[in-house]
């Protein structure tokens, strides 16, 4: 992992990904998606080692990259393939297509923000002054002409309502970010222990609070558990529900003190 990468200097996963892809230029030939994914995961694990907080967006992208990587490994079905019935149009396309589009779109606005930065710089080189007080020139007149006390009340209520809505949306934001991968790992371990050492993947997603982020956190937690050999995963066939099992003879050691 290249320590030259200043982790905090990335605006988000797309920014980091663009950097990795640009950097890959030094390698003359093709950099497979697998390698970009590996580098991306390496950056994330460095962030973890440095105990930096990893925003859920970075995890979301990690999951997305892994999904693309695995889909790249699947054969492209022929149009008359019965498998087609199970796939929507998007899945038949190159799995990287969407990512490339997103990267290009992001890159476009990144450049436009650089243009704005230049203008900001230019504009900051000139100074102006506050307006002169013109009230001495104003003839005696009612400054609230045409405004009634009711208008005043309405303005007050409107402001309060807007504030309420702003607060409301940030509350929703917080609830969504609450669970981290490591917390989820422990949850899964406990759940597995409680259900006698065997669980189906779908059972992990059967809660009222399920969100896209939570599915991804669950998936990443599972990968992490698998990596540290705290769980085994079995799948009978493609698209089957995964079965999560405690390693033989270790049912009791899943939950760490």
């Amino acid at each position: 992992m290249d320590v030259q990468i200043k982790l905090e200097s990335f605006e988000g996963p797309l920014d980091l990904l663009l950097h990795l892809i640009d950097r890959a230029e030094v390698d003359v030939c093709d950099i497979p998606i697998a390698r970009i994914t590996e580098q991306y995961m390496a950056v994330l694990s460095t962030m973890r080692e440095l105990e930096l907080e990893i925003a859920s967006e970075f995890l979301l992208m990690a999951a997305h990259l892994l999904a693309i990587k695995s889909r790249m490994l699947l054969p492209r079905p022929e149009p008359e393939d019965p498998l087609m019935d199970y796939m929507d149009e998007e899945e038949v396309l190159d799995p990287r297509e969407e990512l490339v589009q997103r990267l290009l779109e992001y890159k476009k606005y990144k450049r436009l923000s650089e243009v704005l930065r230049e203008r900001e710089e230019f504009r900051s080189q000139v100074y102006t002054r506050p307006p002169m007080d013109l009230t001495p020139y104003a003839k005696e007149s009612n400054p609230v002409e045409g405004i009634s006390p009711d208008d005043l009340l309405e303005a007050f209520v409107e402001v309060l309502r807007n504030r309420r809505e702003a607060e409301t949306s940030s509350t929703a934001q917080l609830t969504r970010d609450e669970i981290s991968v490591s917390d989820r790992m422990e949850e899964i371990a406990k759940l597995l222990y409680a259900s006698g050492g065997s669980l189906r993947f779908s059972q992990l997603l059967q809660t009222r609070w399920i969100t896209r982020e939570r599915v991804i956190t669950t998936f990443l937690a599972l990968l992490e558990l698998l990596k540290t050999k705290r769980v085994w995963i079995r799948q009978e066939q493609l698209f089957d529900d995964m079965r999560i099992e405690a390693p033989p003879g270790e049912e009791g050691t899943l939950v760490e003190a």
């Binding site: 002054r129 400054p143 609230v144 009634s148 006390p149 009711d150 208008d151 009340l153 303005a155 209520v157």
Partner: protein, 215 residues
């Protein structure tokens, strides 16, 4: 060392940017790295030249400070400007700020900004100049910030005998707070806002809403 003409242009810009407070000769000398005597001499020259050229602004010396001002003989045009609808009417920002101060007085600027979610310095200046609000005291705490309240003229302009005559927030206010609470609850439950609440949940929340309004 700057040439005289460049130096004059820089002085003009400095005085312009300094705004109503103006600049001491020493400040100009420091910024331009010139001798005080040179600055004073140049400014005298500029005053003469501007008059000859028929410029629309002038350099005046007030209390040992140089400042730019408009010309007294142009007074009639500033009156017209002050009377133009865009300048004489309250901006939306000013109206909102005035409403908050009217209902929450005495209140400090930071709290007005907190409620509006936007910097409100300009709106406050505008309202002060129009005589609708004034400083009514200082709050405790760091910097002892200014507390604002409405003026006697405020009541006169709105034709009110006292602040109690302001329309009571109840009718619309309740509704707005409740609507916000309802939205919030939906979001917490992760439900689409279309789904109506049951009678019990509703009544339960109403209590809290009424409580927070009082505060």
């Amino acid at each position: 060392m700057l040439k005289r003409e460049t130096l004059k242009a820089v002085i003009e810009g400095l005085l312009f940017a300094a705004g109503e407070e103006g600049l001491k000769p020493a400040e100009i000398a420091e910024a331009t790295e010139e001798k005080l005597a040179v600055i004073k001499e140049l400014i005298q020259e500029m005053q003469r030249e501007w008059k000859e050229q028929g410029r629309g602004i002038q350099i005046v010396e007030v209390a040992q400070v140089y400042q730019l001002t408009t010309l007294p003989e142009h007074r009639i045009y500033y009156e017209k400007l002050a009377q133009s609808p865009t300048r004489s009417q309250l901006s939306r920002a000013a109206l909102e700020t005035l409403a908050i101060i009217a209902y929450r007085q005495p209140i400090i600027r930071a709290d007005v900004e907190e409620i509006r979610g936007v910097k409100s310095e300009k709106a406050l200046t505008q309202l002060k100049r129009k005589g609708l609000i004034k400083e009514v005291g200082r709050a405790d705490g760091a910097g002892r910030p200014i507390l604002y309240g409405t003026t006697r003229e405020f009541l006169e302009y709105f034709g009110l005998k006292s602040l109690e005559e302001l329309p009571a927030p109840d009718s619309i206010f309740n509704w707005a707070e409740m609507e916000a609470e309802r939205q919030e609850l939906f979001q917490r439950l992760g439900v689409e806002p279309e789904g109506a609440l049951s009678e019990e949940e509703w009544t339960d929340e109403e209590g809290t809403a009424a409580g927070s309004e009082a505060g």
